[in-house]
Symmetry: C2
Subunit: 229 residues, 2 copies
């Protein structure tokens, strides 16, 4: 995490820099109750939100921009655990420590919510408790789907990634990728070269179109679904 911490209950920022408490923009999985407990913070491109091994004191919700969580292995290999889009929560670690680091992929606004506040609220409010559980269960499902990707071929992984992004961004067939090829590669357990080659291959078979490197158009969903195994 950043050097300056916990001024006014908001991590990593001085009070002057942090926006005041306000309702979130995105859909709220807690019906608003929990969002109201948080403060909005802005992070610049590639800025760290929290680090692996730090105490997990907050829950986070993406307001705008995109966040990646990742782990770095001893030998430098990096595993991207997830990409979080606006409206999604992250930092749902199980122990008291963050198992992953989190960084803003592009300039991002994040709602930061004190864990202890949520937990003590959950003690009293069944509804909050249930939603906290559902949040964890949804995250579990997401990780299980990610795991399923990793046992497949390179082509299947890339196709699975594209379909996942298209669905989550619910942007129809036009995907605007906020992350680099390296991010995608580390998410899929591949190299950038393989990701790049696979994309050109998909473009060659007219399943997708790549007008710019960060923009992808799904041209043939049926073909992609078939390649998805």
């Amino acid at each position: 995490m950043l050097a300056q911490m916990d001024i006014g209950g908001i991590p990593g920022r001085t009070r002057a820099e942090a926006a005041p408490i306000r309702p979130a923009d995105g859909v709220c999985p807690f019906g608003g109750a929990i969002d109201l407990m948080g403060a909005s913070m802005a992070f610049a491109r590639n800025e760290e939100i929290y680090g692996e091994g730090e105490p997990a004191e907050y829950l986070y919700k993406v307001v705008s921009g995109t966040v990646r969580t990742y782990k770095t292995l001893a030998d430098g290999r990096r595993q991207v655990g997830a990409f979080h889009l606006p409206g999604e929560m992250f930092g749902i670690e199980t122990g008291g420590q963050h198992a992953f680091s989190a960084e803003a992929i592009d300039d991002a606004k994040v709602l930061v919510i004190k864990r202890s506040a949520v937990f003590s609220l959950a003690e009293r409010d069944n509804d909050v408790a249930r939603q906290l559980w559902e949040l964890t269960a949804r995250e579990l499902q997401r990780v299980q789907e990610h795991l399923s990707l990793l046992i497949k071929t390179a082509q299947e992984r890339v196709v699975g990634f594209l379909l996942e992004m298209a669905e989550r961004a619910h942007a129809g067939n036009q995907i605007e990728l906020p992350m680099s090829r390296q991010d995608i590669a580390d998410y899929l357990g591949l190299t950038i070269e393989t990701v790049s080659r696979t994309l050109t291959q998909l473009a060659t078979m007219a399943a997708i179109e790549v007008p710019t490197s960060r923009r992808i158009v799904l041209r043939n969903r049926a073909a992609l679904a078939r390649l998805n195994a």
Copy 2:
């Protein structure tokens, strides 16, 4: 699941076959409250406990034996999601449907607990709700560790698997594997041949010993930890 269902609230068995309700043998993550709501059932080697896509009406807890959960892809590839040892719960699916199938690896006794009963109890009892959440969070952590395994080399995966099993069976350095090489391969995203070769290789370098194919002795933990990256 099996053809005959839901006789006396116990799935997949006639009343005559099912043992009466009784407390569980293993450690109970619910302090006993939930175990008492369940009935014990015996499953034979390779018998299905539930199938992918079936409605998830029950939670399960291994009393004795071992259970594997798995998914089968369209082309026949199989992904083993987890091995569950005595004392561990499984069937914590997120939606209303089971995302995986579950089978007894060897003859196994399983405590079967009605989901609806647990959930309605959780509505009233904060403690049960918290433990349900912790259970899900622990499962999340387990899946994340599994995911970490899958981005590594074959040797690292096998070593990681052995260390995981040694820890979970808390049997010191002597591991008795209930599952076949095929099960291990499908868990690690490798082939049986690669698993087998890797084990002989580890034995050759004196990191482990394989007195019988299902028994493994960890000979040099430091070396194994080093190979684990």
